[in-house]
Amino acid sequence: MQLIPCPYCGPREEAEFHYGGQAHIAYPQTPQELSDFEWAQYVFFRDNPKGPFAERWHHAAGCRRWFRAVRDTATHELLAVYRQDQPRPEVVR
């Protein structure tokens, strides 16, 4: 089991967390103007990189707060964790 460093609680076991998928997906600014294609992109299409990926996690069995992480999907290594109100950090590997 992996340890995930919650930015509020420190490292905790993976089983305490809930995964939230890709981070930084903003609700469309002008939803009424979106085409079907653009709606599809917003609703169904997410990045699926092999490598660093910015994603959301929820510390469900801890502080119950959402945060973000950059994690390498090939190695499962957590490269950075940060709060919801922070921009994606530069990851130096």
Binding site: F45, N48, P49, K50, F53, R71, T73, A74, T75, H76
Partner: protein, 415 residues
Amino acid sequence: MTASVRPLPTPGADLPDHPAFLWDNPDPKPSYDVVIVGGGGHGLATAYYLAKNHGITNVAVLEKGWLAGGNMARNTTIIRSNYLWDESSGIYEHSLKLWEGLEEDLGYPILFSQRGVLNLAHSLQDVRDSVRRVNANRLNGVDAEWVDAEQVKKICPIVNISPDVRYPVLGATYQPRAGIAKHDYVAWGYARRANELGVDLIQNCEVTGIDVVDGKVTGLRTTRGPIRTGQVALAAAGHTSVLAEMVGLRLPIQSHPLQALVSELLEPIHPTVVMSNAVHVYVSQAHKGELVMGAGIDSFNGYGQRGAFHIIERQMSAALELFPVFARAHLLRTWAGIVDTTPDASPIVGMTPVDNLYVNCGWGTGGFKATPGVGWCFAHTIAHDEPHPYNAPFTLERFTSGALVDEHGAAAVAH
């Protein structure tokens, strides 16, 4: 008093030997009519049906590792066609019919054993959904019946049907024609016959780029040199997003680890296949005697072929409640494959916005059973530059048009 004890036969002793020769291991030629990327079950079956059904034999299958070493080597070999929607039962039932004649067709033993599958229901809603699915299956000509807990016990005596457990067995759907096959033999059978028909199977050959000129595929760059080709067909499961990105194509798939495990070899105790969505485990017993079990996916996106141990723990506790007799079995080995899941839990098989580029992905946790069926339909799609009726509903455009084939939770799909 002494009793003579007859030694038990070695497990697996009845498995057939392999032929002395399976396939050539050629270097890539400078050009092919069709290149299939991915030498797993789907890629090999596609190559075989391209050659057999359509006479297209100037074909290469590129595999970055060794043939059938990805999800084809890692699945739990369950074959069934009891899906809810017409679109799904169409392609899966087509596949099951091909399975029924595959050993003869390939001239290779694949140990297809139609031992039936039970999909357990543990709640009133499960029961309603299951009965609905049985009725839908029957309307589509798929064999299915609803069995109550006592009948479950008759079909599979080791299932615990006691009412005082957390998730009691209230009944199950039963598809007698479902079963298991020996996954490696299936891949080797396809590979051998495809090779005989003239297909080049090229291993240790990773695709590093896809050349597109005027919106049309012209070739591939690989770790073993460039290859010119008129048509490219992607069949790379969990890595399809990585390939599609080379041409700027975005796919609605997410890659996750999916874990499975086997026990030590045991006497035959499990006569069928048992799946339970509610407690998230599926179990059968392989020909050699291992109990083969699978779970749900690990929640995070991942390309590493391993998952978290607490998933296995949860899966084992579910298995133990259903099968108390497993308590003394030892876990032998766990592993994971990378599965490509879609938002509606149905695959994407067909055309792409790039001319002469075809995609077969999104099979998620259930691609093995579809191997013959999708190979057949994907070959048709490539040969005719239009989808076969069975894969026509599984377009990429459905995520824009809204015509989803929503099998999630609706058709015994363990995701």
